[in-house]
Every structure is written in structure tokens, then in C-alpha cells.
């Protein structure tokens, strides 16, 4: 079992990277089913369980930063359990989901913990140290690999169903709470953008954008087009204006 567990761990590491880096989508359960099936010597069951898991994860895609249950670990552990236990694919789903949810919570923590590294990246940028920037990105890829490989190895080596019971003892409020925090966290990025870009004379445009989205539920593209219309109007108007008073206005702005 050790050899198989190592091979599955390697696969999980590779597709754990692919979920964020590469995005060739070999990390989907339908592909994992085939590969795990090959490793464990039962391709047909692998394909069937992988296909079933694929349909379940179909609607669960990362949209706008909200993270669904982790498809990498869900697909790998689900198929491995389905093949090893000989149970119905739906039982495999039941084992896969708690892992997938717990792993997604861990990834939220990882994305939070990786934030301080950005300050190191700022220093590298200031020194125009491009190798430093590259190293930081390679570090992220390495962590993704090791993290996913480890998470896949342990339950397969020690038995997925026992591991699932342990995972289920994690209080639900912690996992939910991390999910809620993940939904709010984009606010920090937007606030940082505002700190750089927002000036008094631009506040009105931000209000327009906010109202269009909050009250009228307009998609971002529509909002951008309205922003563009305002900008074009402003652009051509300022071209027509006599330059002298504009000059003064600009110096005031600065």
C-alpha cells in the first residue's frame, strides 16, 4: 500500500498545483478517477467513481474568490476510497466531501498566512530584484505541492474511512467561520486599491459603480461600460475647454 499511497500523493501534489497554477483542469475528478484507477489497478471503477464525483463537483467552481469544497482532495480520496472499499460511488462521495470541505478551510488559512510574504515581495520590487519575485512564486507552488501530497497520502495510507470520522470531529463553526471570512476578505484588497487611487474628485464615480451593482445588480462589465461612457464624456469635454482654467484646476488637484 505504501507504493500506491506515494504515487497517489504525487498525483495529488501535481493537480493541487494545477487547481491554481496552470489550470489545465487535469485536477477534475473525471481525470483523477482515471489516474487513481491506473495506480490502484482498477481503471473501470476509477472512471465510474471519478465520473460520478465530476457530476457532483460540476457546479462547484471557484467564482469571485468564493471557494467550493476542494475538488483535488475530494476527487483523489473519493476515487481511492471507492476502489479500495468496493463500495457504491455514492458512499465514496460521502467520504470525499468532509475531506474536501476541511481542506478548503485549510487553504483559506494558507492564503491568509501567505499575505506577510507580500511585504518581502515589496522589498524585492523596490530593489528591482526580479529573482526574488520569482522565488516567492516558486515557493507558493512548492507549498501547494507538499500540502496536497501530504493531505492525500495520510488518509490513503491509514485508511480513508477512519480518517473521515476524525475529520468530522472538527467543529462545524470553525470551518463555516473560515468560509465566511473568505467571503469578506476581498474587502481588504479593494480598500488597498482605494487607498492608492481614491481622490476627492473621484468619489462620485465610485458611488455610481456601487449603486449600479448594489441596487440594480448590474454585472461588472455593464458598470465598466457606464464608467467608460462617463470617462469619454469627460475626456472630450476637457479637450474642448480652453486650456487656461484647466491648468489652474489641475494644480489645485495636486
Amino acid at each position: 500500500m505504501l507504493m500506491e499511497a506515494i504515487l497517489i500523493a504525487l498525483w495529488a501534489g501535481i493537480i493541487g498545483i494545477d487547481l491554481y497554477v496552470g489550470l489545465t483542469h487535469i485536477h477534475r475528478p473525471v481525470v483523477s478517477g482515471l489516474v487513481v484507477g491506473l495506480i490502484l489497478g482498477d481503471v473501470t471503477t476509477g472512471l465510474i467513481v471519478g465520473g460520478t464525483l465530476e457530476l457532483i463537483w460540476m457546479g462547484m467552481v471557484p467564482l469571485a474568490g468564493a471557494q467550493p469544497p476542494n475538488v483535488v482532495i475530494g476527487g483523489v480520496i473519493g476515487t481511492a476510497f471507492g476502489i479500495l472499499s468496493g463500495q457504491d460511488p455514492n458512499v465514496a462521495v460521502g467520504v470525499a466531501i468532509p475531506f474536501a470541505v476541511a481542506v478548503q478551510a485549510l487553504i483559506t488559512l494558507f492564503f491568509t498566512a501567505f499575505s506577510p510574504v507580500m511585504h518581502k515581495a515589496d522589498e524585492y520590487a523596490l530593489d528591482a530584484n526580479y529573482r526574488g519575485i520569482e522565488r516567492i512564486n516558486y515557493l507558493g507552488v512548492t507549498i501547494l505541492f507538499v500540502f496536497n501530497a501530504l493531505i492525500a497520502f495520510l488518509p490513503i495510507y491509514f485508511g480513508a474511512s477512519q480518517a473521515a470520522t476524525i475529520v468530522e470531529t472538527i467543529p462545524e463553526w470553525i470551518i463555516d467561520g473560515l468560509g465566511i471570512a473568505g467571503g469578506i476578505l476581498p474587502a481588504i484588497g479593494f480598500a488597498m486599491l482605494l487607498k492608492i487611487m481614491l481622490k476627492k474628485e473621484y468619489v462620485m464615480f465610485m458611488i455610481v459603480g456601487f449603486v449600479l451593482a448594489a441596487y440594480l445588480n448590474m454585472p461588472i462589465l455593464a458598470i465598466a461600460l457606464i464608467g467608460l461612457s462617463i470617462a469619454l464624456y469627460d475626456f472630450y469635454k476637457s479637450k474642448q475647454d480652453p486650456p487656461a482654467p484647466r491648468e489652474e484646476e489641475i494644480t489645485d488637484g495636486i
Partner: protein, 272 residues
């Protein structure tokens, strides 16, 4: 209105050749390599455009300024990012005003994020994956293979095509708009901030999940109180609070920690 940074070396640099554009497209695969909640894709974005940036700015001080700017918050759809890369690199090599570069970057990342989700995660993926899954469930080994091939022909076709298109569009548009950098910076900031306003309402998910009960009376705090005052009230209020704290010099890291605590607390008390 116009950034106060003057380039040490304001001469436009050499154009990128097709081979370089292809290499940059491959680097864009690492856009999310250093994803985190403070800057999201910023360091991966900088990684992706870095060779182009180094060709554009031979002067070390200019390069440092450009690299620092590109470490600012960035988030878009990973397949469509090459379009922004093309435009921005065209602007960088032409030594455009730094504020105009930032404005264009922010104005394009939001809409492309939404378009990309709709095109790839809500259309391409379900179609190709369901074809693959239906074959796999019958035990047909072609299922996963057909899925990966179909998906990636469109995936990589998009990445490479948009890189070329974005770069050429950037180069030709800039040539036309050359004389009015000040107005362009202003226009870019207007679009950028309109988009950011929309992004806050759309992508910050901050809801109260609590129903206040008193006898027969039930009051859903989110839908009957907060939404009645203003939809998106908590997202904008929280964003402005963070903005204010940032201006007071609080570190983004502390604010990230605070947000995690808010999430855990809200979940523990069962109100979020």
C-alpha cells in the same frame, strides 16, 4: 491627477517580438502561484509580466518603480489575464504615465474577471466536463481524455490569442492617444473607480444570518433591516472601515487577522 513620477529614461523601448509574447503567455500560467488574501494575484501578475517589464525599463530606478506599482492588489480571470498583460506591456514600453497604467489595469481586471467566470467556469467547463463524465461513468477511458483535450484547446487558444491581440491593440491605441496623457490618466481613473465601486458590492460577501423573534413577530435582520436601509450596506461599510484603518497606518495583515476573527466569531455566535 497626473502621477508625480518622472521616468529617468523616458525613451520608448524596443517592441516585444512574437517569441517573447509566447514566453510571457507561458509565464501567465503562474498568475496564482503566490495567491493570498492581501494582494490576491499581485505577485503572480508581476512574475508574469516581469521579462517584458525588464525590457521596457533598462533604468534600475524606473524598473523598481514599475515593479513596486505592479505589486499592488490585482485580481482577474486567469485565462483572460494575457489581454491585460499585452495592453500594460505596450504602455510600459511606451513609458506612459504611471497613473494611466494603473487606471487601465484596474479598469480591465474587474470586467474580465466576470466575463471569464461566465465563459470558462459556467460554460466551457460544464459542457466539456459533462461530456467527459458521461463517457467515464460508462467505463469509457476516452471520457477524461476528450475532456482534457477539448478544454485545453480552447484554454490555450484563448491565452495565446489574447496576448497577441492585447499587445497589438495596446500599441496601436497608444500611438493614437499619445498627446493627451493627462486626460487619459483621468479617464482611466474614472473607469477604474466606477469598477471598484461595483466590485465592492458584487464580490464582498458579508451577510447577517439572524432572525430576531419576539412572540409571533419575526424579523430577518439581513433582508428586512439591512437591505431595507441599503443593499450592500455591510460590504461597503466594512470596506470603508478597512480603508480608514489603512489610512491611519494599520497594517493589512492586522486587518486580515481581524477579518478572520470576525468570520469565526460570526459563525460561533450563529449570526453570520
Amino acid at each position: 491627477m497626473v502621477s508625480n513620477y518622472e521616468y529617468q529614461d523616458p525613451t520608448p523601448s524596443e517592441r516585444l517580438n512574437p517569441k517573447q509574447l509566447r514566453m510571457l503567455t507561458f509565464r501567465s500560467l503562474l498568475l496564482q502561484a503566490s495567491f493570498n488574501y492581501e494582494r490576491m494575484q499581485a505577485a503572480g501578475w508581476l512574475y508574469s509580466i516581469l521579462p517584458g517589464l525588464r525590457q521596457a525599463h533598462k533604468n534600475k530606478k524606473d524598473l523598481s518603480k514599475a515593479m513596486k506599482d505592479h505589486m499592488e492588489f490585482f485580481n482577474t480571470h486567469p485565462f483572460l489575464v494575457t489581454f491585460i498583460m499585452g495592453i500594460i506591456l505596450a504602455m510600459e514600453q511606451n513609458k506612459e504615465d504611471r497613473e494611466a497604467i494603473r487606471g487601465i489595469k484596474v479598469a480591465t481586471m474587474g470586467p474580465l474577471g466576470g466575463i471569464g467566470d461566465a465563459l470558462f467556469f459556467l460554460t466551457l467547463l460544464p459542457i466539456t466536463a459533462s461530456i467527459g463524465a458521461s463517457l467515464a461513468i460508462e467505463g469509457n477511458i476516452l471520457g477524461p481524455i476528450i475532456f482534457v483535450v477539448m478544454f485545453n484547446i480552447i484554454h490555450f487558444g484563448t491565452r495565446f490569442g489574447l496576448m497577441k491581440f492585447g499587445y497589438e491593440a495596446g500599441v496601436s491605441a497608444i500611438a493614437k492617444l499619445k498627446e493627451s496623457t493627462q486626460q487619459i490618466s483621468r479617464a482611466a481613473s474614472i473607469v477604474g473607480l466606477t469598477v471598484v465601486g461595483g466590485l465592492i458590492a458584487t464580490y464582498v460577501a458579508f451577510n447577517i444570518d439572524y432572525v430576531w423573534v419576539s412572540g409571533d413577530a419575526e424579523l430577518d435582520i439581513q433582508s428586512e433591516v439591512l437591505d431595507a436601509i441599503m443593499p450592500g450596506l455591510l460590504p461597503i461599510a466594512y470596506t470603508l472601515l478597512v480603508y480608514w484603518l489603512l489610512k491611519k497606518g494599520r497594517s493589512p495583515l492586522v486587518l486580515i487577522g481581524l477579518t478572520v476573527v470576525v468570520g469565526l466569531l460570526g459563525s460561533f455566535l450563529g449570526i453570520m
